[in-house]
């Protein structure tokens, strides 16, 4: 009996330890950044611990958009000029498949479970639904004009696209691949990011220099937050949104409770793609003009490191794994 209780306590202790570890770590840690270098026609794989490029992969076609499969095994790269979706085996660090898609593929996002990849086509004004296992294009969903950013809710039910030249966010039902609604946002929405709870979406509006905050359930804009000039994309970490401002060479930091800008961090020139470490410690920013991936420490609100990458990094999408 005594031994039994002892074992029980030991098991409970282990469970508590595991739980606290899981809470501290949040989601699984990421170790690498996959940065699309548009001018260089390459993909830089950056080891986050050392901030060094560990591999450069030839892509071609002026790569811009990037997404990762949920398990981190595949990276999906769009090449707008090559009109291709390129599937990269992330562990082997090589191109696994090239798929012709549309006329100007740009934003890309991966579904959490069903293996589908959503590609926003700038010129065709559609979202192409590509099966990552077979490399075939299934549905083509008509959205607004020049869709750029695309994102999937964590439960996999909805796909949202930022339709830049319609000033609108389209809602697509992932089960039927039909557009089920739209919400007008600020001018020229480009990047779109959904929070981990699937409650809100954030668009960076290049034309009106602000961020639209959408409540996904109601489809309503709940706030519009002014940021710096030419905002491009949004990352979420530590209860804050981090917004790259291309012309201001800065990152605006929005407190998600008050929906006010609480800080502005100066970064290198022409910041574009931005993504957060899932545990919220760091945010990584691709600086297009300076060929750099900078690391922002979320607690310190300061740049604490940088990796030199290829020419013209855009990293438009979720580029960490």
């Amino acid at each position: 009996m005594g031994a039994h209780i002892e074992r029980l306590w030991w098991a409970l202790g282990l469970a508590a330890l595991a739980l606290s570890g899981a809470l501290a770590a949040g989601r699984p840690a990421v170790t690498e950044a996959f940065v699309t270098n548009q001018s260089a026609d390459t993909l830089s794989i950056v080891e986050l611990a050392s901030l060094k490029v560990v591999q450069t992969i030839e892509i071609g076609g002026k790569p811009a958009g990037i997404a990762m499969s949920h398990d981190g095994k595949l990276a999906f790269v769009t090449a707008p000029e090559g009109k291709e979706l390129i599937v990269v085996d992330a562990a082997a660090r090589r191109v696994a498949r090239r798929i012709k898609v549309g006329r100007g593929p740009l934003g890309v996002a991966a579904h959490p479970t069903n293996g589908q990849v959503y590609v926003a086509d700038w010129y065709a004004h559609k979202i192409f639904v590509v099966d990552s296992k077979t490399g075939t294009i299934g549905a083509q969903v008509e959205v607004g004009k020049s869709p750029s950013g695309v994102a999937v809710t964590p439960d996999g039910r909805l796909v949202l696209s930022a339709d830049r030249d319609s000033n609108e966010v389209s809602f697509i039902d992932a089960a039927t691949n039909r557009r089920v609604g739209g919400t007008m946002v600020g001018e020229r929405p480009f990047g779109i990011t959904i929070d981990a709870e699937g409650k809100r979406a954030y668009t960076a509006n290049v034309g009106s220099n602000d961020v639209s905050v959408l409540d996904i359930a109601s489809g309503k804009v709940v706030a519009t937050v002014p940021v710096g000039r030419r905002p491009y994309a949004v990352a979420l970490a530590g209860g804050r949104a981090f917004v790259t401002n291309q012309y201001a060479s800065s990152v605006s930091v929005i407190d998600l409770a008050s929906l006010k800008v609480v800080a502005t961090v100066d970064v290198a020139e022409y910041p574009e793609g931005i993504a957060a470490d899932p545990d919220g410690a760091y945010v990584y920013v691709a600086c297009w003009f300076d060929n750099m991936l900078q690391r922002i420490d979320v607690a310190k609100m300061a740049v604490t490191g940088a990796a030199d990458v290829g020419d013209g990094p855009r990293a438009f999408g979720l580029f960490l794994r």
Binding site: E81, Y247, E269
Partner: protein, 176 residues
């Protein structure tokens, strides 16, 4: 003028999205020049947003707002074309300013969505002036004609920067 207008209207009719869309590949150009003069002296020449008299292609500048953010200027070129620009950032401590083109005919400069930074760094009697630009080509859809291609845009911007920087060096080193 009528021909220019007709050309513009024809382009618009053919490509209705050209005015607002944003092609997929942005270009960049960086040009520098080393000048045998202290950076303070170089900044005195280039640091006024309303004065481009150091650039040989610019015949006249008319503007409003001085060196305040959102100040505007219209450059009239010796060749007759005009370029309208707006000041985005002005940092006299870093001896740097950033501006964008708000209006230009692609036949004057074959670019879209152009922004640029002019800065001077250095110490003692030597300066390095850097002029950087980010822009899209003149033709905003797929398959551009050669005169509105990426290469044409880069060549044109490089030419503007080179002419300006080389003239600036000559002017300052001659004691101007």
């Amino acid at each position: 003028m009528v021909r220019a207008l007709a050309f513009g209207l024809a382009l618009l009719a053919l490509f209705p999205v050209a005015a607002s869309a944003h092609g997929p590949t942005r270009q960049k150009v960086t040009e520098t020049v080393e000048i045998n003069a202290p950076p303070e002296k170089v900044w005195e020449v280039i640091g006024n947003f309303q004065d481009m008299s150091w650039h040989p292609a610019v015949a006249k500048v008319e503007g409003e707002g001085g060196n305040a953010v959102d100040a505007t200027r219209v450059l009239t070129l010796g060749s007759g074309g005009t370029i309208a620009e707006k000041l985005l950032k002005y940092d006299p401590d870093k001896k740097s300013y950033k501006y964008e083109i708000t209006d230009v005919d692609v036949r004057v400069l074959p670019v879209n969505n152009y922004s640029s930074t002019l800065s001077v760094k250095g110490e003692g009697g030597t300066s390095v002036v850097e002029w950087r630009g980010a822009f899209y080509r003149g033709f905003m859809n797929n398959d551009p004609p050669p005169e509105l291609s990426d290469e044409a845009a880069r060549t044109a911007v490089t030419g503007v920067y080179r002419a300006g920087l080389d003239a600036l060096k000559a002017k300052i080193e001659a004691g101007g």
